[in-house]
Symmetry: C2
Subunit: 650 residues, 2 copies
C-alpha cells in the first residue's frame, strides 16, 4: 500500500500515556475510506453504549482519508468525531485549514484519543515522535495566545495547532475545535469532549512527503482549477465575497432565518451582507492548504465599541446569520466581534447564535427577565448583549452557565414553556438555512444523525440562485436529471435528497471541501474520481465512493440506535411548521403530513424498517454485516431489536 | 442532443404498414439509456397485460444505446425484446455482429415493431427510407439463402440482415434472431415472435456518420485495446480458442453440465474442447464490428457423415455444452453439425440442447419410446439423433412438434412424470454453467426475470480459473474487495451477486459486449465511463450507469409481476438440488434452505417486499414513479397489490 495514505493510525491513551499504532489493510481503507466512516468503525467496535460523552470513556477521533493532504484544492479537511455532548448521539465536525494535511505529512491517517489526562496537557506530534506536554500554562488562554506559546516553546513556527479554547476547557456543550485560529470544527460540541479529557491542543509537525501515485494528474488538476475557478460563478463569489455572499440573495428570497426563525427576511441584512463586509472591514482573504479560492475572510475593526482583532479571521455566512439575523443585530461590528470571540474562545457560532436567539425570544415573551440574565437586556438587535453574553457563556458565569448547556437543556432548566423557543433537532441548534424555503432541508434537519445540520445536501442549490445550469450539468452524473421546485417536500424531493446525501456524505468521508467539489463548484464528480485514482493508485469509481458515503450515514445511524435514538427523534422543532412572519415566503410553514410522508419514504428508500433501523440486507450490502450481527442486541423502546419482531432477517 | 445518438426511434406497424418516429429528450435517454430499459419503457406503457406472445398484440423491439456503433470493441450489440413465448414474461436477447451499428448509421436508436403482416414480408431500412417488402420467396429458406437473396435483390452487398429462419416462421418457441448468419440472439424465443408477425427479416443499410463528441478519446481507447487485449489472459484465450476455451477447465473443475445436468464432468470433453476444435476443424476467426478480439469461430467439415458449412461460423461454448455435454455426444463433427443447423434454421442452441437432453432422459427412463420419437433412438451420445431431431423441430414434424414447444410445455404434454427431467426456470432451459459449482448462478438462475440465463453475473469468475488477480482489481471499483469461495450461497454471495448484477445489467443496457467490458476483460469500468462520456458528450459516472442497470431489471420485474409471476417462479428445477453424479464436485447439490435464505435476502437487498415486488421507495428512487403508480392495479394471487396490504406505501 505505497500510495496516497500511510496505512497507520495513531492511538493515544491519556490515562496511561501509552501510544500504539493501528495498521489496517487496503480492504479496510477501501471500505471505510476516511473521516466519520473510519471513526464510526472504531466507535461502534470499542465504545460502550450509554457512556457519558464528557467522561473518560468517550473517544475523540481525528480521521484523514487516503486523499487528504494531496496538493489539490479542497483536500484539507480535518474531521473530528466523538459521542456528542450536545446530542448524545454520533458527533462529527469538520474544518479546512492546514492541520489535517500536516497530520498526513507526519505519517498519520488518524488519531484515536482515549481516556482522560490527570491534568491539562497538550500533544506534540512531530512525525513519529509523540510527546505528552503539560498545558497548565495554556489553560484559560485565548486560542491565539496558546498557539503562539506552543510554537515558541517547541521552536517551530510551522507547527499546526488544533485546539480548544476556554469554552472547551469549561465543557460548554457547543464548544469547538479550532485549527490555525480561524478554521473551526464547530458542530456537535466536540470541543467539550476534548476539554473533558484535559486536552487543550494537538500540535502537529510533519516533514514527510505524501506519496502520490501519479503526481502529473494531480499537478494538472491543480493547475486547471487555479485557472478556472474564477469562471465559475460560485468560485468567483466565494473568492471575492466569501460564504457571506449568500446573505443578500437569501434575504431577497425570504429564506434568511431571522428572529429565532420567526422571520424569513431581515431588514438589516444589507448592513451585514458580504458585499458590505467586503467594502468596509475586510482586510484580506485567506484560504486553506493548496487552495486558490481563499474563501476565508480577515476583518479588522480598530475603533468604536467593537474592536475586532484580524488574528481570528472573519465571519462566515453561518456566523452572520446566527449572530446577526437570528438576533436581528444589524451592526456589522457587533456581529464581527461576536465571531472573533467565538474563535478566540472556541465556540460554535451557529449554536451560540441559536442559544442567544432562544434567550432573546424567552426574554421578549417574559419567560426570562433581566434578573434571570444577570442584568443583561436580551432584546432583539442588542449587539452589546451578544458580546456580554458570549463572555458569560465562555466563563460559564451566571446565566451564561445555563446557556452553555445548549438551548435544549437550557429550556428544560428554565421551564415555563421555554422549550417552544429552543430551535434545535436532537439538541443541536438549527443552522442559518431555512427549510420552509428549501424543501430538502426539512428532511435533512429531521433525519440527520448529527441533529440539525446543513452540510448533508446541496441545500442552497435546490434554490440555486447562482448557477443553475452548472448545478444541473454536474448533478446529472449523480442521476439527477431535472431541477425541482425548491420549496416542495415530496417524493421527487426525497429521491433528490437521497442521492445528494450519498454525494455529500462521500465528500465528508473523503475529507473533501464542499466548496471545491459539490455540484455548482469547480471540480466535477469525474475530477474527484480521477484524482482519487491518481493519488491512491486504486482505480476507483463514483459507485464505489458513493457507497462509502452511504456506509458512513448507516454507521452513524446504527450508533444512534445503540444510544437509544428512535424515529421520534427525526423531527423538526414546532417553529418550522409555523408560517414565516416576513419576507417573500411570508405565511409559509412546513406541512406536517408532507414531512411525515417524506421521512417515511426516505426510511424505505434507505432500506430501513419503518422504525428507521437499517435492515440486515442494507447492512450486508454495505459490507457491514458485523453491525447487523450486533444490532439485535440494541434496545429500542425498552425492547431488544431482536425481540421486536419487526426487523426483517435480523 | 448532437452527439452519440440520434434521438430517433422508428415505429413500424405491420398491420397498417405505417411508419412513425418517436423523439425523446436527453432526460429520457439518460434515464433509460438503451437496450432492455428503453424496451421495457415501451412494453410497460403500451403493451396490455396478458396478451398472447405469439399474437399481433406483442411488440418486438430492437434497441440501441447512445454508445452502440461507436468504433470501439464491444459496442456492437443488437438487443431484442418482446414478451417471451417461452416464459410468458419479459423476453430479451442480445447478439454482437454488425447489424446494430448499421442501424445506428441509418440514424436509428431503435425499432418498435407492432402488429402482424398479412403475408410474409421483410423490412428494408436504408437510412430514413423504409420499405415493406414481400418475403414470400424467402419463406422456408435457410438463413444464408435468404440473406443472399435480400442483398442481391436490393443490389447492395453491405446490407446487414437480422432474420429468423424456418424455425422462427414455424414459431418454434426457442427460435432465434440471427444477424450475419452467426450472431445469434437466441434466448427467450424472440424468433418466434418475429415469425408470428410474418416478418422474416429486417435488412438495414446506413450511410450516415455516427456523431462522436470526442473522437480522439475513442481512437485512443480503440488503439490501446488492440495493443493490449492479447496481454489479458481472457482476451488471448477468447481470440485463440474462442468461448469454447471454457470446456476443458470446467470439466476439470466438475462444473461442466453433462447428461441433462446429472453429471458435472464429461468423459468426452476433450474431444469437443476448444483446443481440439482449434486443432482440427477451425478454418478462421471472425469477429464483430470494430473488435480485434475475433472470438467467433469458423469451422468446416468436408467429409464424413456430418458435413459442416463454414458459412454459419462455428460453435460457441454454450453450444458445445448444450449439444455436446448435455447429450453426452463426444463426436465434434455431430456437435458442429448441430450448431450449423441451429444457425441455419434459427434456433437457440442452449434450449435446443436442453429439450433434446430432456427427451434423452425421458427415453432412458422409459417415459418415451421409439414409437413416441418417430423411430429415432434418443439415446445418450447419439449424434445422429441430434441431427435428425433438430430437423424435426425445425419442421415441427412429428415428435419435433412437441419438442418445439420447449421442455416445460413438452413435459406437460408427455406427462408420466416427464416434468422432472425438464431442466428449466420459468420455462427457459438452463445454460451450460453449473450452479452447484458456481454459487451466484443458483441465485441468478432463480431470480432472473428472463428465466434461466447466464449473463447476469460474471459467473465463471466467481470460480475464476483464468485471471483472478485482474478480476479482483477490476471488481474493486464495483465495491467488491474480496474474492469469495465459489460454491457457497450465503450472505456475502448475495451481496456480490447484487453488485455484479448492477454491473452486467448496465452493460446490457448500454449494448456492451461482456467479453470486452466485464471484470477480467480488457476494458475497465473507468474505460467504460470515459468512453461513454467521450461519445455522448455527457459527463457520466459509474454511479449513473450502474443505476441504469438496476432500473432495467426492476422494470423487467414489474413487467413479470403484471403478467402474474410471483416469487414462487423464482426457484430452481429439482435436478439442481440433487447431488452431482460425476466429477470433482461429485455428491454436491444445492441446499434448499441456503438458496431460500439467499433469495429472500436478495429481495430485501433489492428493496422489494418479501413477495418480490419492488417497493414504491425503490421505484421512486429509480425515477420509476410512473410504474409504482400503476403497480397497485397489478394482480398477484388473485388480489390487486393495492389490496394485499403488504406493499409498503403503495
Amino acid at each position: 500500500m505505497p500510495y496516497g495514505y500511510t496505512g497507520k493510525i495513531l492511538r493515544i491513551d491519556l490515562n496511561s500515556k501509552k501510544v500504539t499504532i493501528d495498521t489496517n489493510d487496503e480492504v479496510w481503507y477501501r471500505t471505510y475510506w476516511g473521516g466519520a466512516a473510519m471513526a464510526a468503525w472504531y466507535m461502534l467496535k470499542e465504545m460502550e453504549a450509554g457512556i457519558d460523552p464528557l467522561g473518560p470513556d468517550n473517544m475523540l477521533l481525528f480521521m484523514n482519508s487516503p486523499i487528504v493532504g494531496a496538493p489539490l484544492p479542497g483536500l484539507s479537511r480535518m474531521v473530528v468525531c466523538a459521542k456528542s455532548p450536545l446530542t448524545g448521539g454520533f458527533g462529527e465536525s469538520q474544518a479546512g485549514g492546514f492541520w489535517a494535511p500536516e497530520l498526513k505529512k507526519a505519517g498519520w491517517d488518524g488519531l484515536i484519543i482515549t481516556g482522560k489526562a490527570d491534568s491539562p496537557m497538550y500533544l506534540m506530534i512531530k512525525d513519529d515522535q509523540i510527546e505528552f506536554k503539560d498545558a497548565g500554562h495554556l489553560w484559560g488562554l485565548e486560542t491565539a495566545e496558546a498557539q503562539t506559546k506552543i510554537r515558541e516553546e517547541n521552536g517551530d513556527d510551522r507547527i499546526r495547532v488544533a485546539q480548544i479554547g476556554p469554552s472547551g476547557e469549561k465543557m460548554v456543550r457547543f464548544s469547538s475545535i479550532v485549527n490555525d485560529l480561524n478554521h473551526v470544527a464547530g458542530r456537535t460540541g466536540l470541543g467539550a469532549v476534548m476539554g473533558s479529557k484535559n486536552l487543550r491542543a494537538i500540535a502537529v509537525r510533519g516533514t514527510q512527503d505524501i506519496q502520490i501515485k501519479d503526481p502529473e494528474v494531480v499537478k494538472e488538476k491543480a493547475k486547471w482549477f487555479a485557472q478556472n475557478f474564477m469562471d465559475n460563478p460560485q468560485g468567483r463569489d466565494l473568492h471575492l465575497i466569501g460564504t457571506s455572499v449568500f446573505v443578500a440573495p437569501q434575504n431577497e428570497l425570504g429564506i434568511l432565518p431571522t428572529k429565532n426563525f420567526c422571520d424569513g427576511s431581515f431588514e438589516g441584512a444589507d448592513s451585514i451582507s458580504g458585499e458590505t463586509m467586503t467594502e468596509t472591514i475586510l482586510k484580506k482573504r485567506e484560504g486553506c492548504y493548496a487552495c486558490p479560492v481563499r474563501c476565508k475572510r480577515v476583518v479588522a475593526i480598530e475603533e468604536g465599541p467593537y474592536k475586532v482583532d484580524p488574528t481570528y479571521g472573519g465571519p462566515e455566512y453561518e456566523t452572520l446569520g446566527a449572530l446577526g439575523c437570528y438576533l436581528q443585530i444589524s451592526d456589522l461590528a457587533a456581529v464581527a466581534k461576536g465571531a472573533e470571540m467565538c474563535n478566540k474562545y472556541g465556540l460554535d457560532t451557529i449554536s451560540t447564535g441559536g442559544v442567544l436567539a432562544f434567550a432573546m425570544e424567552c426574554y421578549e415573551k417574559g419567560i426570562l427577565t433581566k434578573e434571570d440574565t444577570d442584568g443583561i437586556e436580551m432584546t432583539w438587535g442588542n449587539g452589546a448583549a451578544l458580546v456580554e453574553m458570549i463572555e458569560k457563556i465562555n466563563k460559564r458565569e451566571g446565566f451564561g452557565d445555563i446557556l452553555a448547556e445548549g438551548s435544549m437543556r437550557a429550556a428544560k432548566k428554565i421551564g415555563k414553556g421555554a422549550e417552544k423557543y429552543a430551535i434545535h433537532v436532537k439538541g443541536q441548534e438549527v443552522p442559518a438555512h431555512e427549510p420552509r424555503g428549501k424543501g430538502m432541508l426539512g428532511i435533512t434537519y429531521s433525519v440527520s444523525e448529527l441533529g440539525a445540520e446543513h452540510t448533508r445536501v446541496e441545500h442552497d442549490t435546490d434554490f440555486d440562485f447562482t448557477a443553475p445550469e452548472i448545478w444541473l450539468e454536474q448533478a446529472k452524473s449523480l442521476g439527477l436529471l431535472r431541477r425541482l421546485p425548491t420549496e416542495t417536500i415530496d417524493e421527487d424531493k426525497v429521491r433528490m435528497y437521497y442521492y445528494l446525501q450519498h454525494h455529500f456524505s462521500m465528500l465528508d468521508v473523503l475529507g473533501c471541501c464542499l466548496f471545491t467539489f459539490a455540484p455548482v463548484r469547480t471540480f466535477t464528480m469525474a475530477d474527484l474520481v480521477d484524482m482519487t485514482s491518481a493519488i491512491t493508485g486504486w482505480e476507483t469509481s463514483l459507485w464505489e465512493l458513493m457507497k462509502a458515503g452511504e456506509r458512513r450515514w448507516n454507521m452513524a445511524r446504527a450508533f444512534n440506535i445503540r444510544e437509544g435514538f428512535t424515529k421520534d427523534d427525526d423531527w423538526l422543532p414546532e417553529r418550522l411548521f409555523e408560517p414565516l412572519q416576513t419576507g417573500a415566503l411570508k405565511g409559509k410553514g412546513i406541512i406536517k403530513s408532507e414531512l411525515r410522508e417524506a421521512i417515511d419514504l426516505y426510511y424505505q428508500m434507505c432500506n430501513w424498517t419503518e422504525d428507521a433501523v437499517p435492515t440486515k440486507a442494507k447492512l450486508v450490502e454495505l459490507d457491514l454485516k458485523w453491525i447487523s450481527d450486533k444490532m439485535g442486541e440494541y434496545v429500542i423502546n425498552g425492547k431488544k431489536l431482536r425481540e421486536s419482531g419487526n426487523i426483517p432477517h435480523l
